[in-house]
Assembly symmetry: C2
Homo-oligomer: 255 residues x 2
């Protein structure tokens, strides 16, 4: 199978012109087939602020009312996505911007209301990567915005990490997939206070021991659970790193 690298980048990187153009250059140099998943969080928060729409965040998660959903659709699927696409085209990459609604790529269910009503937030249900895999084979480079649909006409705000993981799994049918999660640190750290204490490789047994010992904790646990789920579903490796890790291949490698 041909190699495909799927890179997920967070909001911080895409919201500043300098860091974005740096990222795009690194992304362009990745050999083989590739795809990009982006966030765009704070740009949406900024627009909401200018429009006088209150952003409600509970436990680090945005509550998406209808007005916020419209803002997210404008910022993620419009402004951020199309500027990345135009930027990649300028670098000779045949980018194609997509949401989960396009080509029915990612269907999700509106999250059921339990303790918290998250509003118009989607939990991924099904990824149909058939047409996407074909397009990649034709040289197209998908750029995915974190918006999906419920198949009934409703767009839904969806976690970009989840979109990256689920898309990587779906593409693993046709490609030898490496999934790179780019965030602000160099990788999973052995010691949170030491930025250079990157765990170079991690298998499930070691992860479970670290989790029990409290070496790995907090938000890193669901991130790593997702990574191992991707591996179990046929993704060859997951790398957790910062943007410079795209080029240097440094970071935490999960097999």
């Amino acid at each position: 199978m041909e190699r495909l690298t799927l890179v997920k980048v967070g909001g911080k990187i895409v919201e500043e012109e300098d860091s974005l153009s740096c990222l795009l250059r690194d992304f362009v140099d990745i050999p083989g087939y590739k795809a990009l998943v982006h966030g765009g969080g704070r740009l949406a928060t900024q627009l909401a602020g200018r429009l006088g729409v209150e952003c409600r965040i509970v436990d680090g998660r945005r509550i998406t009312d209808m007005e916020t959903l419209r803002i997210i659709t404008m910022v993620y699927a419009g402004l951020v996505n199309k500027n990345i696409v135009a930027g990649l085209q300028a670098l000779g990459v045949n980018a194609l911007g997509l949401t989960g609604a396009d080509m029915n790529l990612i269907r999700s269910d509106k999250r059921p209301v339990k303790d918290i009503d998250y509003g118009y937030v989607g939990d991924v249900k099904e990824v149909d990567a058939r047409l996407l895999a074909f397009l990649i084979g034709q040289g197209a480079v998908p750029v995915l915005a974190p918006v999906t649909h419920d198949g009934q006409g409703l767009l839904l705000n969806t976690n970009a990490d989840t979109i990256a993981g689920e898309t990587a799994k779906a593409l693993a049918v046709d490609f030898d997939v490496t999934l790179i999660y780019c965030f602000e640190k160099k990788g999973v750290l052995l010691d949170e206070g030491d930025e250079d204490s990157v765990i170079e490789s991690l298998d499930r047994a070691t992860f479970e021991r670290y989790a029990e010992q409290g070496v790995v904790r907090g938000g890193m646990i669901p991130k790593l659970e997702n990574a191992f789920a991707a591996i179990d579903a046929g993704v060859r490796q997951v790398i957790i790193t910062n943007t410079s890790g795209i080029r240097s291949n440094a970071g935490t490698h999960i097999y």
Copy 2:
């Protein structure tokens, strides 16, 4: 060659939920391959108003400064485009939302400054419909937003009528194309005061006679020039009509 119908709808139709859902149902019933080009003008004007961004219109054309370009990208490529895509998916149509930057579909040049500086407005230079034609053959239904790119990383606001005409021409290589321009009137009128005086069919000789006589005038002349240019470039017919003409096949037919 297989038949393909390309429908262009103006801003008014897409900006209200009722007229949009009506349009989408009519569009879905079109037999054969199809594609949609949309505007979204007044929704962009509304957002600009809420953001306190002044909209400058000269001779009926919007002056697109950088702030306006960002708004247009958000509204046209994000909000309007993705809601149409999700709406069509709910009706069982495998819609795929695109700008001219996606798959390098439509390259344009920033309009040169002569008497008026239109700002970030693109004049279409080249349509590459190769991948698009293939996708249509695979069952995808393109939904095009009126935003293109210059190939250097810049998005450009582009007239939706022009995008429809140029895309129709490019698709005429692979398909037997009918281009439908939907606007607020039933067709080209013999008498502007009589909404029912629709000219049923029009060839170039008759058009030129009508133009000389002043029967056809104003903004209708460039619209018809575009229509005849499309015919000359291999588009089978152009129909100028209102939304109910999509279903009834009424309106002005140009051969």
